[in-house]
């Protein structure tokens, strides 16, 4: 049995909204317009909508899973694994889950560095800059979950101007670009679906931080609100991109959002893209600090000897090494695809399986006690 979490390190239910939102909106928001519309063209928004709605269903399953677990102990994925599968298999599954979160962190970090290299500093060393980022994450995560949640909250605030400047796009938008509706075959829509999921991934971290939210019943609606807001933002950004760029042009832009930012002029500012990329640091910071926090805590839960502050250093060193190993843009693309693949099966196959297994396990236990009693 683990120690109960102190109230001082828990956060109020409304913060659940900011955490879900800021983790979901990550590095993907700069480039998903291209990847999602590659196969489905102007119908990409339908795919995005369906994928977003499916995350609500997955969230329902996750919350169901965690609520069921409440009776047995701490409601998080690692405790569930340990209770359902025993020490060894459970431990292995924990390691697998933590590796998945590691990929999430590394992908986010490396993609941001990639953008920095292409748009701002071509000679930036991946190794050096990731050390600096990790030092920052280290300082933040040392403050515990409250500070990580605070970063998520502030991130939502700083994200607003980046999202709202989509208004500039409206002047040049051609809404006729969206026609004809639903022209593509289900197969090509399905191919886009995989890419859409990549943008939405991240919310499954609820499985790790849920015990740190006060009054979980009250937090439930905030999780859904967070998902819906993310869905709304993604949909809005996608539709604006589809109407602003033509299909042929959109496929040539690696980061359509950045291309669009380049067209924004202010009297004191020639173009907005570099400022935007810098402020974007705050959009990717929640994902990486939350994953670093989740992994270091996971290590502590699996091996109670290791303190979280030492595990954190190990995790960040791992982040630096892994992101330095991903050398060029092609490999960034490759690891992004790998991550999407694992994430897809994780949320659509593994979580339902876990929920069903939990129910069977409960029934078996009841039978056993009846049989013996």
């Amino acid at each position: 049995m683990q120690k109960k979490i102190r109230e001082a390190s828990q956060v109020s239910p409304i913060i659940a909204f900011f955490i879900t939102l800021s983790i979901q909106i990550g590095i993907g928001v700069l480039s998903f317009q291209r990847t999602v519309s590659r196969h489905s063209g102007q119908d990409a928004w339908v795919v995005m909508l369906i994928a977003g709605l499916s995350t609500l269903a997955v969230m329902w399953m996750i919350l169901r899973l965690l609520d069921n677990e409440q009776a047995y102990g701490q409601p998080d994925l690692l405790s569930i694994h340990r209770r359902l599968f025993g020490k060894w298999i459970g431990g292995m599954l924990n390691m697998a889950a933590l590796s998945f979160v590691t990929i999430f962190g590394v992908v986010t970090l490396r993609s941001y560095i990639e953008i920095l290299q292409v748009w701002v500093f071509p000679q930036l060393s991946v190794f050096g800059i990731s050390i600096i980022f990790c030092l920052m994450v280290w300082y933040a995560v040392l403050g515990g979950f409250r500070v990580v949640a605070g970063i998520c909250t502030l991130s939502t605030l700083y994200m607003l101007p980046l999202i709202l400047n989509g208004g500039f796009e409206l002047q040049q938008a051609h809404f006729s670009n969206l026609l004809p509706l639903l022209e593509h075959s289900p197969q090509s829509l399905m191919q886009s679906y995989m890419q859409a999921i990549h943008s939405y991934l991240g919310f499954e971290l609820v499985l790790f931080f849920h015990p740190f939210i006060k009054r979980p019943e009250a937090a439930r609606k905030w999780y859904y609100f967070g998902l819906l807001t993310a869905l709304y933002i993604y949909l809005m950004v996608l539709i604006l991109a589809l109407t602003y760029f033509s299909q042929a042009e959109l496929q040539t832009e690696i980061w359509p959002t950045l291309t669009f930012w380049k067209a924004i002029h202010f009297p004191l500012l020639e173009h907005f893209d570099i400022i935007g990329i810098m402020v974007f640091l705050w959009v990717f910071l929640p994902s990486i600090s939350m994953s670093a926090w989740a992994i270091s805590r996971g290590i502590k839960q699996t091996f109670p000897i290791i303190r979280q502050k030492y595990a954190l250093i190990f995790v960040l060193v791992l982040f630096v090494i892994l992101s330095a190993m991903i050398r060029d843009g092609a490999r960034v693309e490759w690891i992004n695809n790998l991550y999407t693949m694992i994430g897809f099966y994780f949320i659509y196959a593994y979580i339902p399986f876990l929920l069903i297994y939990q129910l069977i396990h409960k029934k078996m236990k009841q039978k056993q006690t009846k049989g013996t009693g």
Partner: protein, 505 residues
Amino acid sequence: MFWKKKRLQETDPNEKSPKTVKDLIAKLKDYPDFTHFEHRGKYLNCWISFFQSLVNIEFVHRDVFPFLYRDDVRNLNDIQERLPIEKIIRTRDISVIQTKLLEGYIVIQIKKSQAECLVVPSIRVKGRQVEPPEVETSIIGPKESFVESVDTNINLVRKRIPIPQLAMQEFRVGKVSNTRVSLLYLKGIANMENVNTVRQRIEDLEVTSLLDCNMLSQLISDNNNSPFPQFIDTERPDRTAASIYEGKIAVFVDGSPSALILPTTIVEFFGAFDDYFLTWHLASTYRLLRLFAVAISVLAASLYVAVLTYHYQLVPKDLLGTLITSRSSVPFDPIMEALVLEGMIEFLREAGARLPTKVGQTLGVTGGIVIGTASVQAGLTSNVLLIIIAVSALAAFTTPNYRMGTTIRFIRFPFILSAEILGLLGIILCFTFLVCHLLKLTSLGRPYIEPVYPLRVTDWKDAYFRLPYNIQTTRPMFLRPGEAARANRKRNIEKRGKKWTDIDE
């Protein structure tokens, strides 16, 4: 270790202290301001000792000595009964006699060697008169400020809060100085958890001397390693009273002309008390203006360095010409330029603060103009940067709280240096570091950047802007006050009636 040897030889303070009254007087006799004489009257002979520099000598002559000549006064008992002064102590305790003697009491003995003494209070309170505030000046509103005497200060607050619930606790801090520290709060409204935390922190202090409340503020703060002040110091009694009404705690230190208000959040440092005397539109605008000024002050110079070193493509074409002409004669990098000018401004400020007022003003005006224009003409800096630095220096001074203002000026330098290293990325990294630091900070265990995180929308009514008083019906949530409501909202509406029924009615 070698260096520990001498330091650890602590002397026992009780060892050398006198054991009897006779020892004590023998020890003090040589000091010129110590008076010790035998009074020989018709009916009573006694020994009187006191410090001339500490007692109110007029009071002693007028109100104490005449009683010693009366025919019904024959011994200490009689004196104690007849003397119309409260709090006369009769004691044999040498430590009490010693401390009281050094606080300005007079000691009366029948015989020189007798241990039993009468200790009569006659403290001289001499200090500054209550004057208008100098640091937190205001154009309208009360013009009183605290002085160095804690009793006067508490008087200034108590007359603004005339209810018995205004509780006061007193401590003695400092092994040697024994400074009086008083803690004021409203019973039933201040959160007792906060009060206990403050009390415990003050009681746990291990210091030799305590001279000012800013010292105390650093000693009891949550995080010593932060450049940000975690408690507000104010010299305005009206502000202190308003904070106590809100449910905060005020701490006074004897000898310090300001009070500490705790706990606080960061936005309160940018609110002047004037804000409550102006209409809410103006007050809100000025508060936002001050916050904007802080952003300018921290970021302006570093943005200049970052943009001119790395991101010149951000400069619009029309502005580029001006920048080029201005910088064409300057042989240095932007960072050198910025550091030279910032250094000059800091020299000017520091010199202005240390010099006497009359000299200081001349220095400020001539120094600023001469150095500014001359450095541009000499080609050391560019015109544009001169304006930027001057504006950012000006902006830093809009912060109403002096300690916060110094912090703002200080954190600008890490920003400039990181802008030189990584351009805009360096600035945003530095900013992130700062925000993480602020997220961690607490004031008495309460979050420091409260209305933003944890997000409490009800507290926004008096943070970045000040909404009208009829909306301010609840006390700030972050204080967790004993009673949340300031006024009964329902009754308020009932009394005033409906505001708006119809046209011309």
